[in-house]
Symmetry: C2
Subunit: 160 residues, 2 copies
């Protein structure tokens, strides 16, 4: 499978034009991570977005008590991207992404992403719309999680 | 203040070109809501995004127990938009937006928004990027809320 077909398999990129995909691919940098390595570390300043080409990663969060827990595991069959939040708002990383196996990724930094959106706005609209829908899904999931934990809290208070 | 200046005061629209703003403004529909009326109702299928031109609204959520609580109050001085989640993913409304006072809004439906992004991709990139950053902020806030409620739950369990 050539590199264009690899990219086309990502839902993020499935609908952008060939010209835009070629331009975007020239901005993507290949990065390898060894098993156990952090690709992204919670709290750090960095703004790359990653496409997971090969391998499996754990998305890990810290509780207020400093414990960590795995919130999701992503493998390459899912053609997922991660790191899109800091790509957009340039704030600190909200979770750690740890390589559960050796991983091959393609990444794009914020400056290159913004340049692509400016120079290829039709492609930019498609990327930003896709990312936006994913963010909305995350908010809806967080809402549900919040409701569940809140319910557990109320029940615990009522029992005590 | 003419209508273009009213629109320009919205951070969402502050950086789009005059041509794009004119095109967008022709897609916006003025809608009035009386005090006490729901502009958006949690759980319903609708996909308009609203610009709050005049008045004050409460954003209201339901708990799993069916109680409601105000999560935020927005007034026209904030030049805020709401309803952008369903605009993007076309899923059910995640909160109720209730007119605390008589309100004047401008709204755009999903089909018109998508058409604008397609026909004016430079403007579309700017709108989607702005909405994306807002969504990221909401996720970060939800993360903090989840941590706080989780902490309260753990402390309650340990005390009981």
């Amino acid at each position: 499978m050539d590199s264009m077909n690899i990219l086309r398999a990502f839902p993020l990129l499935s609908s952008i034009s060939q010209t835009d995909l070629t331009a975007l691919s020239s901005l993507l940098q290949a990065r390898h991570f060894s098993q156990g390595e952090n690709i992204i570390t919670e709290g750090e300043d960095s703004d790359d977005m990653y496409l997971l080409i090969k391998g499996t990663v754990d998305i890990i969060k810290k509780t207020v008590f400093g414990d960590t827990f795995v919130v999701a595991t992503i493998d390459d069959s899912m053609h997922s991207v991660f790191g899109e939040m800091a790509l957009l708002d340039h704030d600190k990383r909200s979770s750690t992404v740890n390589a559960r196996t050796d991983c091959e990724t393609l990444c794009i930094d914020r400056v290159s992403f913004d340049r692509f959106c400016q120079e290829h706005p039709e492609g930019g609209v498609k990327l930003l719309r896709f990312i936006g829908v994913n963010l909305v899904r995350n908010i809806r999931k967080e809402n549900e999680n919040l409701k569940m934990v809140y319910q557990a809290l109320i029940e615990e208070i009522e029992q005590s």
